[in-house]
């Protein structure tokens, strides 16, 4: 509205100047008129751009926020999976996540990402088939699930100190730190983070509080810290905590971080044991059956220099009463063209040991067994036809634990981010 007013005002002023006899011949007046015309053009351009953005409908008004950003993404992933004896093709997952960020003032803000998703599982090793070949589980698209991956209030003193509370992300792992899928060059996460929301080796999400900040050492170096305390969805009474400390070489685009965390895994009991199976192309089940305390440590490296991106992480988890876990993931991407990226990733994940079901009658019985390790090689190409659109085609060669069966997967996925 202000722009319209300015445009009318400037137009009127220009008309008045043009109407004055003799003025148009004066070089000074002609210059002033030219400048006014230029300003009118600018205002009209801005006005038309504003109208294009706002449209003819009501403009959003945030009740008390000084600033409100709304965005999100839509992602779908389809897969062709080939096992030892059988191949199958199907839909793995589709999700819509909305990003809502409201800023109340310079210190307080809220970030929430309500999401809706539907997944068909994509089991790489279906235990119901004789040869344990890949399969998809059925789900009802009319019952897409609600998913809250972030729901956090933030108070910030400045870059050196921010406090977040609510449903927050853990700082561990390179892919997990990015978290939302549209920025990934390979659709599926690494083996030890593949099934979201779980406590596989380190927590990826928690309900709690975190303190984080960035401290400049000098103009080329920085220290980032992030410490958290809380619990996870599957066990609100089991406390978890951890921290990440990173040294950042800003001119090299390189960060090297140490990670530590501790907590308790609640375990799975009763009939839930039968539903705790590998999903979403993950070689291991999303939760541990056997309850135990744990402590983990790890190193992650994130290096982004020009067209080159490397994400590497090594983690070791000490499991009380069970065999320990180990995970390695290294991903290298080169954007050979501005809009085309070529990626390679290697994953190794040793799940340690866990309780497995050995009898269903007369009651469900379990015993501790070594879970073995899985490895995966991924070659991927991603294409960004638009800065907000990413198409991916990834070939995965997965060596399953214990059976040592091989599964090849060709994943096609896309993300539209707005």
């Amino acid at each position: 509205m202000t722009s319209t007013f300015h445009a009318i005002l400037a137009t009127s002023a220009a008309s008045l100047v043009l109407a004055l006899p003799g003025q148009s011949q004066d070089p000074e007046a002609a210059k002033a008129i030219a400048e006014l015309r230029s300003r009118i053009d600018e205002l009209e351009d801005q006005q038309s751009k504003l109208l294009e953005q706002v449209g003819g409908r009501a403009v959003l008004q945030a009740y008390t926020a000084s600033n409100f950003d709304f965005g999100g993404h839509v992602t779908s992933l389809f897969a062709h999976m080939r096992g030892e004896d059988r191949s199958t093709t199907g839909h793995v997952v589709s999700l819509l996540e909305l990003y809502l960020k409201a800023r109340l003032d310079e210190q307080w803000s809220v970030f929430a990402t309500p999401g809706f998703y539907l997944f068909q599982g994509a089991l790489p090793d279906d235990p119901l088939t004789a040869s344990a070949d890949p399969a998809f589980i059925a789900d009802d698209s009319g019952q897409a699930r609600l998913f809250l991956s972030r729901l956090q209030a933030e108070w910030r003193l400045g870059d050196a100190l921010q406090v977040r509370g609510g449903i927050i992300g853990s700082p561990h792992g390179t892919t997990n730190r990015e978290y939302f899928i549209p920025a990934r060059t390979i659709g599926e996460g690494s083996l030890h983070t593949r099934v979201f929301l779980t406590n596989a080796l380190y927590p990826q999400q928690l309900d709690g509080i975190a303190v984080a900040g960035k401290l400049e050492v000098d103009e080329r170096h920085r220290i980032d810290y992030d410490a958290y305390f809380g619990s996870q969805d599957d066990s609100p009474t089991d406390a978890i905590g951890g921290a990440r400390l990173a040294f950042v070489f800003t001119d090299l685009g390189l960060s090297i971080a140490g990670n530590w965390g501790t907590g308790r895994r609640p375990g799975v009991a009763g009939a839930d044991l039968l539903e705790n199976v590998p999903l979403l192309q993950a070689p291991f089940s999303p939760e541990f059956n056997g309850a135990r305390d744990y402590m983990f440590g790890g190193i992650d490296v994130d290096w982004r220099l020009g067209a080159f991106v490397n994400k590497t992480e090594l983690y070791y988890g000490a499991e009380d009463g069970y065999a320990d876990q180990r995970a390695v993931s290294t991903e290298w991407t080169w954007f050979a063209l501005p809009e085309v990226g070529l990626s390679y990733r290697f994953d190794y994940y040793d799940r340690g040991s866990d309780d497995v079901v050995v009898a269903l009658t007369p009651a469900i019985a379990t015993m501790e067994l070594d879970q073995g390790h899985a490895t995966e090689h991924v070659i991927g190409v991603c294409y960004d036809p638009n800065p907000s659109v990413r198409l991916r085609l990834d070939f995965h060669h997965l060596l399953l634990p214990q059976s040592r069966n091989e599964v090849d997967m060709l994943n096609l996925s896309w993300s539209l981010s707005f």
Binding site: R39, E42, D45, Q46, K49, D69, G71, H73, Y99, L100, K101, E106, F111, T113, G158, D159, R177, E178, Y179, F180, I181, P182, A183, K214, E216, E219, R220, T250, D251, G306, A307, W334, F335, A336, L337, P338, E339, D384, P387, S388, R390, S417
Partner: protein
């Protein structure tokens, strides 16, 4: 011989496209302007390093603690091209990937885009932590702003 040279030419062409930020399209001198009350004392490469971090939102505060408020110019404009090459040192695609990543990390959005030089100068004069890129000539006689970096 031809079979050996051809792949090398293709790779060279790809590398050339992938690495080189687009050169500025004209010879206009651009400047990064800040609010006249801005206490930044950095000059040269040090000033560019600070402005780069603030523009990319890696940091959000000037060294004196004032909240940074960057404004960007339209893609493909002379001001944006000069800033991108001489301060950010990034290609269009690298910049796009940066904003895609930070947005999908914590909802951070790119700086607001302003078309007009005059509007950039008005915003910068109004907000203490603001900065923007304009042609050097546009700053003459404008109150409330000062030049931090000449590109």
């Amino acid at each position: 011989m031809t079979t050996a040279v051809l792949p090398m030419l293709v790779i060279a062409a790809i590398l050339g496209r992938a690495q080189d930020p687009a050169p500025p399209k004209n010879t206009t001198t651009y400047v990064v302007v800040v609010n006249a009350k801005n206490a930044a004392t950095e000059t040269g490469d040090a000033a560019k390093a600070v402005v780069k971090k603030l523009f990319l939102k890696d940091l959000t505060q000037w060294p004196d603690g004032a909240e940074a408020k960057p404004y960007r110019r339209p893609d493909k404009s002379g001001a944006h091209d000069a800033f991108q090459q001489l301060v950010l040192g990034m290609s269009d695609a690298e910049l796009a990937r940066h904003w895609l990543r930070v947005k999908n990390q914590d909802g951070t959005t790119p700086p607001k885009e302003v078309d007009s030089d005059r509007m950039v100068l008005k915003y910068v004069a109004r907000y203490p932590g603001a900065f923007g890129i304009v042609p050097k000539d546009a700053v003459k006689g404008v109150e409330g702003v000062r030049v931090l970096i000449e590109l």
